[in-house]
């Protein structure tokens, strides 16, 4: 894969990469660092990508690993109570953001990959390196968690 090809594919994935990074990291600057690390790592390892059809799942997986790396570093550097809150993006829909944030991380990322990015169960399994059965279970439980929260909110209102 040459640089032009890599650039075209990465640029086409920009929005997806942003949403995934932002779902893990509270600060925009951290999202940018994770993106940069992921791109450099992917470029360096591009010869290990045997099938270019898997570019999207491959780069997404690398980005998630880079986000988790930043989170691990933050947890080491500061006690958990000092970690930044998962603040809503400035121009985002607050209600939709709250609903997403109400989900456990393991359900949120699976639902995002399925419903925002349109990945199939097999691709999500490849990205997160978890069995397909686990992906299906998390999709189902994530949807259930959303439904339950929604019902609770309606009752309170």
């Amino acid at each position: 894969m040459d640089k032009d090809d890599f650039a075209v594919r990465a640029l086409a994935l920009e929005r997806s990469l942003y949403c995934i990074a932002r779902s893990y990291l509270a600060a925009e600057a951290d999202c940018e660092d994770a993106l940069q690390n992921a791109l450099l790592r992917a470029w360096e390892k591009r010869d290990t990508l045997r099938q270019e059809a898997y570019f999207n799942t491959w780069l997404t997986r690398i980005l998630i690993n880079c986000c988790k790396q930043i989170l691990r570093r933050q947890k080491q550097e500061m006690p958990s109570e000092s970690l930044p809150e998962q603040a809503a993006p400035t121009d985002g829909d607050i209600d939709a953001w709250r609903e997403l944030c109400s989900l456990d991380e393991k359900y949120r990322i699976v639902l995002m990959l399925r419903y925002r990015d349109g990945y199939c169960v097999a691709d999500i399994s490849r990205i997160l390196r978890i069995p397909q059965g686990t992906v299906k279970a998390r999709l189902s439980r994530g949807r259930e968690q959303l439904r339950t929260r929604l019902i609770q909110e309606e009752v309170i209102l």
Partner: protein
Amino acid sequence: MSMNKERIDAAFGNTPESFSHRLSQTIATLSEKKKEDPVRRYPLRVIVLAAMITMILGAAGTALTMDRGLNWWFQGRWSMETASDPTLVQDIQTHLQSVIPQYSTQSGLAITVEDAAWLDSKAYIAISIRNERAEYEMHPNFNMNVDGFDDDRTENWLWTSKGFGVPEQVMDDPQKTLLLFEDYPIHAGRADGPILRGAWDVTRREDGAVQLIQEIDWDEDSGFRESIEAALAVYTDSDGCLPLFMPFATRTFAQDIYGDYVDYGILGFKVKVK
């Protein structure tokens, strides 16, 4: 909430310009010159590790003779044990018992214990497990990404006698479906009896059986020895056989994806200990 792309997108607002800028800026800095040799299959660390193992073995000068095609395994991951006890490997192989009474918790299991050895004098146990279905090639799940560097690769790698690489390149028969065997601690006497503690390793033999070898932690101070000796006294039958129970699970792996579990349960079997 209807979970769809528009709704999720709305939660994130617009992609910040700084993010887009960093993306294009990073791409602009990528250099073609850093491209690696496309024929290189193994990370540098693996090559260095392999070289170190070769050097250690060369220095030890240990010439082991054994059957079942496990030389590659013992001479690699077992180099320390074999250097300190040159007859260990041979002792394990010669003490293998091929008649193993079995009473697994489920009927119709296609996973069976092929042979086992109990080396009381050296505090080792060896157990070999066979998958009886021709469409699967069974390997220990432990040998998937055994180097711990899977985050540095784009694919999961399997360690076999053919090398360390993507499963279809190192399996005996890539036409078969890879079946990963997960073993759990072995209980002595009863399914809820004391656990055999200690360092262990597992691999696939040349004949296709997955062999697990465990050093039993015989430390006097741990209290563990007492519990195992009690199990030996209570549960060893008149033929000198001790019942053992090993929970296990198997799952498929194909096209770099872990599949669902195929088998799971408890393998119950007896090993001659006297």
